[in-house]
């Protein structure tokens, strides 16, 4: 069996999960009653006859008097067409909001993941190779402690120490507020605080040659990304270390040594390659926590991604966004898990040949 067959099979397995996800969101939206459902589509300031008219229109549109499965189909149709309701916090369609804020969150989690892997792999491998040494013990204590900390504590600790108290790095927003008015309107929408075309301020500024803005915006990414990375790497290092220790006991590692392969190569090539496999699998489970953590970190640092937006919406009764978040985060997580599975299949030849 080839790799592409595995890919196709995996994609097909995706479909029931996606459908199930839509069921879940639909159920949530309707569990709170019709008024909760409609709240996403109705401007709260609207009253009286105008409101009643809108309610009637929506009732017809979503077939709210028909059986549940009919309602589901019309709801799904609306979702697929991009009509997710209107957000009260940004006063724009919900879908648009997601488009605006998602790139920031993706960037944040991607950078955090990159940082995590770059740091974790050497440390995990070395810690296992020099088992019970001072470094290893230090690593174990540090990761154990980080692993036991709530994400908000890690975020807050960095926020307070490096950000507010010592002022080493900026700790709020995506850019220094002072610089905000100086951003050219050619590519920045000042009313909604959105940059174009990628909606990532640092990147857009870079693309438009505005180095000062780009640099400043980039600085604002560091603390949130590092916080997330710290939370994530505790888990990764623990798993990598454990699987390295197991791998180093294996016969094939002993054979590599018996072949006369230098110890450094045995560890960094033969052992590491195998130890990374369960680590990638575990990372798949940790990614859910990564996105959840992003929500908290964005909240603490007021970093404008979908996590921040979701908490805002939750606190201000912006229903459409809360429900939409479930769907969006679900889609992101499912996609990420799929990509990770494919990566694993690529790395482990045994999987493809089943």
């Amino acid at each position: 069996m080839k790799l592409w067959v595995y890919v196709v099979r995996r994609l097909i397995l995706l479909i029931p999960t996606l459908i199930g996800l839509t069921f879940l969101v639909f159920a949530l939206e309707h569990a709170g009653g019709t008024s909760l459902f409609l709240a996403a589509y109705i401007d709260p300031h609207l009253t009286g006859t105008a409101r009643q008219q809108l309610v009637d229109e929506l009732t017809t549109k979503f077939h709210l008097n028909d059986p549940v499965y009919v309602q589901y189909l019309y709801w799904l149709a609306a979702i697929l067409q991009g009509d997710w309701g209107t957000s009260t916090t940004i006063r724009q369609p919900v879908a648009t909001g997601f488009l605006w804020f998602m790139p920031n969150t993706i960037m944040l989690t991607a950078i955090a993941s990159l940082l995590t892997w770059v740091i974790s792999v050497p440390i995990g491998v070395y810690s296992a190779a020099r088992r019970d040494s001072i470094l290893d013990q230090g690593v174990r204590v540090a990761t154990f402690t980080l692993y036991s900390m709530p994400i908000f504590l890690i975020g807050f600790a960095l926020f307070f120490t490096l950000g507010t108290a010592w002022g080493v790095l900026p700790a709020q927003f995506n850019i220094d507020l002072i610089l905000l008015p100086t951003i050219p309107s050619a590519w920045f929408d000042h009313t909604n605080s959105v940059s174009y075309p990628t909606h990532i301020l640092a990147l857009d500024a870079f693309l438009h040659g505005d180095w000062a803005i780009a640099w400043n915006a980039f600085l604002h990414v560091i603390l949130p990304a590092v916080s997330l990375a710290l939370a994530l790497l505790a888990g990764i290092i623990r798993i990598l270390r454990a699987s390295m220790l197991e791998v180093l006991e294996q016969d094939y590692v002993r054979l590599a040594r018996a072949k006369g392969v230098p110890e450094r190569v045995v560890q960094n090539f033969h052992a590491k390659k195998n130890a990374l496999l369960p680590t990638v699998t575990s990372y798949g489970y940790l990614v859910s926590g990564l996105f959840g953590g992003a929500v908290v970190i964005e909240d603490i640092f007021t970093f404008k991604g979908i996590g921040w937006w979701t908490t805002r919406a939750f606190l201000t009764d912006d229903v459409g966004v809360v429900m939409g978040s479930t769907l969006v985060f679900g889609l992101i997580l499912v996609t990420t898990t799929l990509l990770l599975d494919l990566l694993y299949a690529f790395l482990d030849p045994r999987i493809r040949y089943e």
Binding site: L28, L36, G293
Partner: protein, 313 residues
Amino acid sequence: MMATVTETKARYDELKLSARVFLANKTAVAGLVIFLIFVGDALIVQIAPGILGVQYPNDVIPPQITQTNPECTGMPPEPPSIAHPFGTIQYGLSGIGCLDLLQLVMKAIRIDLAISFFIVLVGAAAGTLLGVVSGYFGKWLDEVVMRVTDVFFSVPFIILALAVGYVIGRTLFNMALALIIIWWPLYARYGRSLTLTTKEATFIESARAAGSGRLKIMFRHILPNVMPPVLVQISLDVGTVLLIFSTLAFIGFLPSGALVPELGVIANIGLDFAQFGYWWTVIVPGGIITLFALAVNLMGDGLRDVIDPRRRS
């Protein structure tokens, strides 16, 4: 079936060995000690709060404080000192101050522990049972359960908790409920995989051959094999669950008026001040949470030593 004398003795010996293995792991014992301190605090606050000097165990702000201490209104948080080992916090800007953080923490531990255990025990019980049934009977039931758990796994915990909480209402009990809803799929999957491995074991075949009914097999043979790892998982999850729901409380799950002594809520209250230099208002509750999770994780390590036959020797 009556247990014979030798069987009881054998079980007692096993327990003694388990205890010895656990106690050999010094960090696990340290974790157990810390855990017991937490539990002790919770029990004392529940039964006789006066011993610790705690009044009004369910309130963040004691009812008469504004009347008895008018100067506390508008009093900013104070750093840790002899009088207030953890410092004080203030609720709401230019709101009520002088709230001793140590007392709040002692109250909060009771509530946090209760919630954690509630969530994990209910979620584990429901989930494991469903998982075992699903794994044992297989076929379409199993497929359905797998797909449903897949869907629950596809949304990050915190987001799902927010959505569910929004729908069913933002109260403390509902927060626990939302977490139970999120937690059971984990145990369903776990119980299912353990059941599948146990099902393959040959002693099940011999039980079937001997004519035991299916339900009987499930309860008499499968559950006892599934329980030990699940119990270890439960003991670990008590810490993880606390991490999650305190984080939920921190970002504001409970409406701003709901002043329950809960570590995440306290941190949330403290956050308003924290950026102005009053760091202990967030670090202390966060630290207490960390301490508990640390203790639980260390204990879990020790328990794994007991359960896993390889590490036992």
